[in-house]
Amino acid sequence: MAKALNPDIGIIGNFVGATGRNNVNAYPSLSLQESEVSFQAIVDPYARADFFLAVGEEGIEVEEGYVTFPALPGNFLLKAGKMRSTFTRVNTFHNHTLPWIDRPMVQFNLMGGSLDEADVGIKEAGLSLSRILPAPIFLEATAELFRGDSGSLFHASRRSDVSNVFHLRSYGDLTESTNLEIGGSYARGHNDVGSDFITHLTGLDATLRWKPLRRAIYRSFSARSEFVWSRRQEDATTQRAFGFFASAEYQLARRWFTGARVDWAERARNASQHDSAESVVLTYWPSEFSQIRGQLRRTRYAEGQTANEFLFQFLFTMGAHGAHPF
């Protein structure tokens, strides 16, 4: 009986390798980059809890750990804990659900990446409240309040230096097989120059998906793009930087996926510099529970260097069968 009440436990191993030369921001040659251990359970009739621990070679970090109250009055959904923010779509993805091995450059350059901390994006302790708005299409509004410490993006010197994120997500079925999702995001937090200095982020994301229902396990296509504008106040100036990525993924057969991504992003702390990259990706699924992926990436850094790299990845799942991300 005790076993029946245990949370669902899953482990996703994420083994990443890299070859080629990169003198600016290099992956290690071989690493068990970040495996994810998940514990998920219904807490009581009013709440469920989800924990995702990122287990790397250097230690364990809480990737996400939150309680969700799905049955609040007024059709609200409240989450409390540490979580990936809804600022743009890709920020909410866990590493193993990305359609690439790496995260897009715009996340690294504008959303808190640094050479010391490769794992980027807004993920923090806080509260997230969302509601589906009454509208003819699907429209969901989310408001989030965080502590204000997120990688190199936000830094809370005082307790009141909180950050917040707002996200509006719209979705429509164009046909039975095709749908379009467009989202707008805004984030604001204090930066590491000091309490009086704010970084504002504005984001726009769009995803077009096609999957014919009768052949859903054999064919699919998705195209996505995200644009981020950063405005970072500093002592004397304000750095205004912009970045985007655009990518597409096509499923050739039940087990084969191919994709490409283009990146271009200025740097949040020095907007006069920009980096760019192109990638092609090939993915093979031996089964629903494992994945082998290769990614060829050419990166042109602002320093004038070009890095040609081949990244490869083995993903393998043990235990509970998590839901597929949409």
Binding site: I42, F76, L133, A141, D161, E181, L213
Partner: protein, 315 residues
Amino acid sequence: MNRQNAGFIQFAVAILVGLWWCLAPGSAAFAKNLNVMTSTEDLASLAREVGGQHATVESIARGYQDPHYVEAKPSFLLKLQKADLLVVVGLGLEIGWLPPLITQSRNARIQMSGGGYLDASTAAAILEKPSGPVTRAMGDVHPLGNPHYWLDPENGRRIAKAIAEKFAQLDPEDAAYFEQRYQDFERRLQEADKRWLEAMAPLKGTEVITYHNSWPSFTDHFGLRVGGFVEPKPGIPPSPAHTLEVINQIKKDQIKLILVEPYFDLKTPKAIAAQTGAQVLVMLPSVGGVPEVANYLQLFDYNIRLLKGALAGQK
């Protein structure tokens, strides 16, 4: 404005705006007419049989779709948000897509703990519950038993009864109506089952190959035998070595039929058929697999007509 508190104030304003939206229409009020969502079209058909004019029923998955792999589209949330009842197949069939839809529906009624959640498998007789340890070396096995249990008409009756009882709980005023609808459905199902069993009697013991292990409830009820599967293991696509084994088995056992669900590629089954002379039949595991199969009784009519026709043609 004090800059320190700007973050808190922005957040509070957003919450107030949210509360204002809350007052706008959109919260589902309990209706006399039950608003029912089901995960599959088979459950929707059974719910319509007993719900009649006092239930509006819609399925998330389409009948021609693989029910293991349905996309958790946000548009389903709009429908789930207003549902009084959600009926699911259970046994892990929908585990890849339904749980996030339920959580994000913001509908207390259809949460697992709510009064408007019905797992139909709790009412049905389930086959193939593993007795020993289960590992993924066996493929995508369902540790709680085979989830395609609605393909036994006896289970169809049991599910309909469970749905009728649930309807009566949610709408006690119409309990007698639901009971009468259920009795009527049970009578029609029994008559039809008698007819189906008679039609299938000459085929008793016929051995078939199926693509996925979707049919044990059907074959058990109608006396067919499943000799093997096109998939080497559940959820694993056909491999050349396994395909060769299937070809040899068909030749050895003189198996005449390969049953394929409508969402699988016909390439491998057709290649096997070409090598062996067996016939490929696209059988429907669900209502709505083709437009003319609009309800639960028509699903069996269609599949049995197909089986009879195929074997008659071979004689």
